[in-house]
C-alpha cells in the first residue's frame, strides 16, 4: 500500500521559520520567569511549551501533511492525557 502514497516535501524555508519561532518562544519562556506572575507562572510556561510542541508535531513530525488518521491518533492521546489530569485533580482539588 505504501508505494501508492505521495511524500510531501517541505521547503527548507518553512523549517527555518519554524525553528526561529521555536527559538523566539524559548526566549519568551525564559523572559517571563523574570516577571512575577504568581500562580499563573506555571500556566504561562505550559501554554508556551504547548505551542512549541504543536509546532514540532505539525512541521518537524509532518502531522500537517499526513493523513488525517494520524492527527486523530494524536488528538486521542491528548484527550487521554486531559482526562487523566482531570481525574488526578479530583483528588487534589477536593482534599
Amino acid at each position: 500500500m505504501s508505494q501508492n502514497e505521495k511524500h510531501h516535501i517541505v521547503k527548507y524555508r518553512t523549517y527555518i521559520f519554524v525553528l526561529l519561532g521555536l527559538l523566539t518562544l524559548t526566549g519568551i519562556s525564559v523572559a517571563v520567569t523574570g516577571l512575577n506572575l504568581g500562580p499563573f507562572a506555571v500556566t504561562v510556561a505550559l501554554v508556551l511549551a504547548g505551542i512549541k510542541s504543536t509546532l514540532v508535531l505539525l512541521f518537524f513530525m509532518h502531522l500537517k501533511f499526513d493523513q488525517p488518521v494520524y492527527g486523530i491518533m494524536v488528538l486521542f492521546v491528548l484527550a487521554v492525557f486531559v482526562v487523566v489530569m482531570i481525574i488526578t485533580f479530583l483528588d487534589y482539588s477536593f482534599r
Partner: protein, 532 residues
Amino acid sequence: MSESKQPSYLEYQGKYKGLFGWIFSVDHKRIGLLYMYSIMTFFIVGATLGLLMKLELIAPGKTIMDAQTYNGLFTLHGITMIFLIVIPGIPAILGNFFLPIMIGAKDVAFPRLNLLSWWIYIIGAVIALSSQFMGSGPPDTGWTFYAPYSFKTTTNMLPAVLGAFTLGFSSILTGLNFIVTMHRMRAPGMNWMKMPLFPWTLYGTAWIQLLATPIVGITLLMVVAERTLHVGFFDPALGGDPVLYQHLFWIYSHPAVYVMILPAMGVISEILPTFARKTIFGYKAIVASTLAIAFVGYFVWGHHMFTAGMSGTAQFAFSFLTFLVAIPSAIKVFNWISTLYKGSIHLAVPFYWAASFIFVFMIGGLSGLVLGALSTNVHVHDTAFVVAHFHFIVFGGVGFAFMAGIHYWFPKIYGRMYDESWALTGWVVFFLGFLALYSPMFYLGMKGMPRRYFDYLPEYHGPNIFSSLGAVVMIFGLALIIINLIRSARKGEKATANPWNGTTLEWTIESPPILENFEEIPTVTEPPYHYK
C-alpha cells in the same frame, strides 16, 4: 500443502551461526523464542523465590529466613514477576512470533528495532537483578517502590529503579513496532474486521505500552532525583506529596495490568473457536470490549489508593470507573461461553488450559469488584485477600493463557507435537496446586492477615499450611509441564501444518514456518474464524 524450498526459521543459516545466529537474528520468530527462553529463565527464579516465601509462611515465627530477608525476597519476586515476566510476557513471546504470521506479513515493521527491544530487555534485567548483589543489600520496598520509604531506605534501590526504567524502553519499542506493523503490513484483503482477535488485543496492548510506560519511566527518575538530589517531589519535609508518587506510579501500573491481561484474552479468543469448531460468538463485541478495556483501563488507577488519603470525590470517581471496566471484561467472558454453546468441542490440552483460564479469571475478576467497592476495600486493603486477587488475575490470567497458547502453538513453533498425556497430567497437578495455593489467601485476608509480613498470628496457621503445600504441588506440576515441552521440542512426533484444524493464517503455513513465513503473501477473503 506443497513442500517449501525455503528452509525453516530453525534451520536457516544466515550471517551468524550458533548462538550468535539467535542473539543477532532480526527474524521475529527467533526473537520471540529469545524472549521465551529469557522469560522462562527469570520465571524459574521468580517462582523459586515465591516458593521460598511460602515455605517461610508454613508456620508462624521465623521458619527459614528473617524479616529483612523476607522483605528483600518479596521485592525481588515482585520486580522479577511483574517487570521481567508478565508485562513483556505474551506480547513479546507469542506476539512477536505470531503477530506477523496472523496478519499475513513476513516480519514486523522494524525488525532491527525488534532485536534492540530484546537487548534492552536483557540489559534492564541485568541492571535490576544486580541490585541483589552489590551495595547495601537487596531493596526491600516491594515492587511498587512507594515513596517516602523508597528514597529513605538504605538498601540498594537505585539499580532496581534504573532497571525498571530501562525495561520500559523495551516495552515502548515493542508497542510502537506492533502498532506500525498492524497499520501497514496486513495482507491484502485483511481489513480491520478480518483481523484475528489475538492481533486485536496486541493492538490495544501496544497503545498502552506506548502511552503509559513513559509515565512510570519519568516517575522512577523522580525517585532517583529525590534520593540523590533531594528535590522535594514526594518528601513532605521538603514540601512534596507522597500520594503524588502513588498517583504517578499507578497511572502506569494499572494500565500495565491490561498490558498483561489483554493479550491473554486474545490467546483464549483464538483457542476457543478452534476447539469448539465454531465461529467466535460476537467478534465485533470482543473487538470493541478490547478497545474499551484498553481505554477505560487508563482511568481506574486510584482503586489502589483508597486508603492512601485521597479525597472522597476521587475515591467515588475511581470506584465508579473501576466498576465500568468490569463491563467489557464480562462481555468477553459471555462471548467465550456463547462460543462454546452448541459447539462440537474437541477436548485437548490447550482447551483445558483455556477453560481453566476462564474459571480462574472469573474468580480474580469478581474478587476485583470486592476491591473496587470502597466499603469492602477498606476492610481487606493490604491483606492476603489482595495477594489472592492479583495472583488469580495476573498469574491465573497471564500464566494460564500463556500455557494455553504455548500448548496451542507449540506444534507450529517447533514442528513437533508434545506428549499429550504428560501435558494433561501437568495441567491437572498445576491447576489443583494453584487453587490450593491462592484460595486460602482470600479467607486469610478476610480474617485480617496482612500481606508482606514474614510472620502471622497462630490463628492463621491452618490455611497457611494448606497454601504452602499448594505451592509445592503447583511447582511440581510446572516442572512436569516444562520438562515435557523441552523434551518434545527435541524428540516429539513431527507435527502437521494444521494439527488442531485452525482457520487463521498461521495454520496455512508449514510447521515450523519458513524464514519469511509465506511463499507468497496470501490474499484474505474470509473472516478469521470461518467454520462451515
